[in-house]
């Protein structure tokens, strides 16, 4: 565990020494801030409208602001996750520092876990920025915090899964751009696979739809803690990290 933490700290440090972390955090803050502003604006507008019509339409901050915003956050993540993971192994391979890691008395698993954990922590930092926005809702309104907490857990699990895939792809090449592009393509596919369920209900469509990360986010977004969906994300994380370990091993046999 000590080695995992050593690697993780080193990765976090290089995220923050190079401007990558700041740029990612700033991009996320701006984009999410815009979504937040928009969502709150729509909410206020709808509130006034229903008042004018004299409807006692039940307005709900959790359902009408937080839930769509959490989905937005996961979409923004989709774009930023490849940028977070693309350098993790590709850069080490290009500069030759992978030789230092691979000849140090640490297990491959510790290196992989450390790197994955660092990427997850950076993503968690973004979610913290989003939380700053949500704080305003608590300041001026009275939303329920529990569904938000569950949604946050869902976001972390989903990101963990996509990051694990990104880490794996980063071991396949020494070119960061290739790693980033392929990761993005796979993340996007895992996203849209769900669409087939819209017009097709055959078994293959159900399988594709099951594989989609979107399908499994629904319950978390609603604030429902579903073990079935958690299992999906956790197994995706394990699969991604396992593939990374295999890939690192094969690097040694092929190199």
């Amino acid at each position: 565990m000590r080695n995992v933490w050593i690697i993780c700290k080193k990765e976090l440090r290089s995220y923050f020494v190079s401007p990558i972390a700041y740029i990612l955090l700033a991009l996320f803050a701006v984009i999410f801030g815009f979504f937040f502003w928009n969502a709150v604006g729509v909410f206020i507008f709808m509130g006034m409208e229903s008042q004018l019509r004299g409807e006692m339409f039940p307005m709900n901050v959790n359902e009408q602001v937080i839930r769509p915003l959490v989905s937005n956050a996961s979409v923004i993540g989709l774009f930023l996750i490849p940028i977070i993971t693309m350098r993790l192994f590709a850069e080490e391979k290009r500069t030759g520092t992978i030789e230092l890691l691979a000849t140090s008395p640490v297990h491959d698993a510790e290196i992989i876990l450390g790197k994955w954990l660092a990427s997850l922590l950076l993503y968690a930092g973004m979610l913290l920025l989003a939380a700053l926005n949500f704080l305003w809702l608590f300041r001026y309104g009275n939303p329920d915090w529990k569904p938000l907490a569950v949604a946050y857990l869902g976001l972390l699990l989903q990101a963990g899964a996509l990051l694990a895939i990104g880490v794996f792809i980063s071991t396949l090449t020494r070119n960061q751009i290739i790693a980033g592009a392929v990761t993005f393509a796979i993340c996007l596919l895992l996203w849209v696979l769900e669409w087939v369920s819209g017009y097709e209900s055959a078994t293959w469509a159900q399988v594709l739809s099951y594989l989609s990360v979107l399908t499994h986010f629904d319950s978390f977004g609603k604030g429902v803690l579903s073990s079935k969906d958690a299992v999906y994300y956790v197994s995706l994380i394990i699969a991604g990290l396992f593939l990374t370990a295999r890939s690192m091993e094969s690097l040694r046999w092929r190199a």
Partner: protein, 333 residues
């Protein structure tokens, strides 16, 4: 300390290392010599557990690289051909990171960082970003990271490649000074480096071991088989080359005399035989007694270079064109 037996590394299309066996004893400093692409780096990567061998065994301090890689890695400091530096880190920060990675912590870590900063003369760049350091400094930081955990064995892949002559000398001195505490294997295609820094040399070519011996033995072997060049001149009038040759041939120990160059008043002979002291003395005396002048008497230049070229063949010489020039420079020095 290091035992390598029948080590082989095959890739899809070629064999990089072909049944190599050698041993390195504790505290020795061994030069791993061969032209580019001979398999030096591959062998070193196997010893450092970066690559697994296709067959054969390699043991460091009694631990097999395949069976107990962690134990091997703990005992090895490795400087790859390009120093594995994180260019965005500062020198001190980088060394602490590597130290932690190698299992140091707390007070011990701080002490070792200070020690290697001092030992490798990089204390003045402790707070500089590695990416801004010159090549010489980077190489020394690379050496510092290799020795930070005080390993039993140091494996250095072309530690002086790409440095300027002053830096090369500094690095060699540094390596020599480390040899007391560590067993060192260094690879190079530069011969004088081996002559200057190593006690033993392992020569490989095209993945095969061609020679392993002490540097002294190899040089002696070369000298023993070598020959002496004698330039004789006449004081007055013409010189009878044939007469000189006959005189030389009568000297005990001489096996062959060849007239290399002949002019009206001087001749150069290559004399082969047991080139020990008495034969040279006899040659000199013979010349002087006959009333000729002895202009020059020298051992026909033999250095590791010649053995190396003999052993690795002419193709290797063509590939590494820089070698003869550098070797020649060193021979003069």
């Amino acid at each position: 300390m290091i035992t390598v037996q029948q080590l082989t590394k095959r890739y899809a299309r070629n064999t990089a290392v072909d049944h190599i066996s050698f041993e390195v004893e504790k505290g020795q400093i061994v030069g791993f010599l061969g032209p580019n692409g001979a398999g030096k780096t591959t062998t070193m990567r196997i010893l450092t557990c970066f690559l697994p061998p296709s067959s054969g065994t390699a043991k460091v301090a009694g631990f097999d690289v395949l069976e107990e890689p962690l134990e091997v890695k703990r005992r090895i400091g490795y400087l790859p051909e390009t120093p594995p530096l994180y260019l965005e880190m500062r020198t001190g920060e980088y060394l602490s990171f590597v130290g932690r990675l190698k299992g140091l912590s707390g007070n011990e870590l701080r002490q070792r960082v200070d020690y290697v900063l001092d030992r490798c003369a990089i204390a003045d760049v402790k707070d500089k970003v590695l990416g801004k350091l010159s090549k010489g400094y980077r190489q020394r930081v690379g050496l510092a990271q290799a020795i930070i955990h005080n390993p039993d064995v140091l494996i250095l892949d072309e530690p002086t490649a790409g440095l300027d002559p002053k830096q090369i000398n500094e690095t060699r001195d540094l390596i020599k000074s480390l040899s007391g505490d560590h067993t060192i294997i260094l690879s190079t295609h530069i011969l004088p480096e081996v002559e200057q820094t190593c006690e033993r040399v392992i020569i490989i070519n095209r993945g095969k071991l061609v020679a392993t011996d002490s540097v002294n033995n190899l040089q002696n072997r070369a000298r023993g088989a070598g020959s002496v060049l004698v330039e004789v001149a006449a004081r007055n009038g013409a010189l009878d080359a044939a007469a000189v040759q006959r005189k030389f041939e009568r000297i005990p120990g001489v096996t062959r005399v060849v007239c290399k160059d002949s002019d009206a008043n001087f001749s150069t002979f290559e004399v082969e035989g047991k080139t020990d002291r008495t034969m040279r003395g006899d040659l000199a005396r013979a010349v002087v007694e006959a009333g000729w002048d002895l202009n020059e008497l020298r051992t026909a230049a033999v250095s590791l270079e010649e053995i190396f070229l003999q052993l690795t063949g002419a193709e290797a010489a063509a590939e590494s064109g820089a070698v003869p020039a550098e070797a020649g420079a060193a021979a003069k020095a």
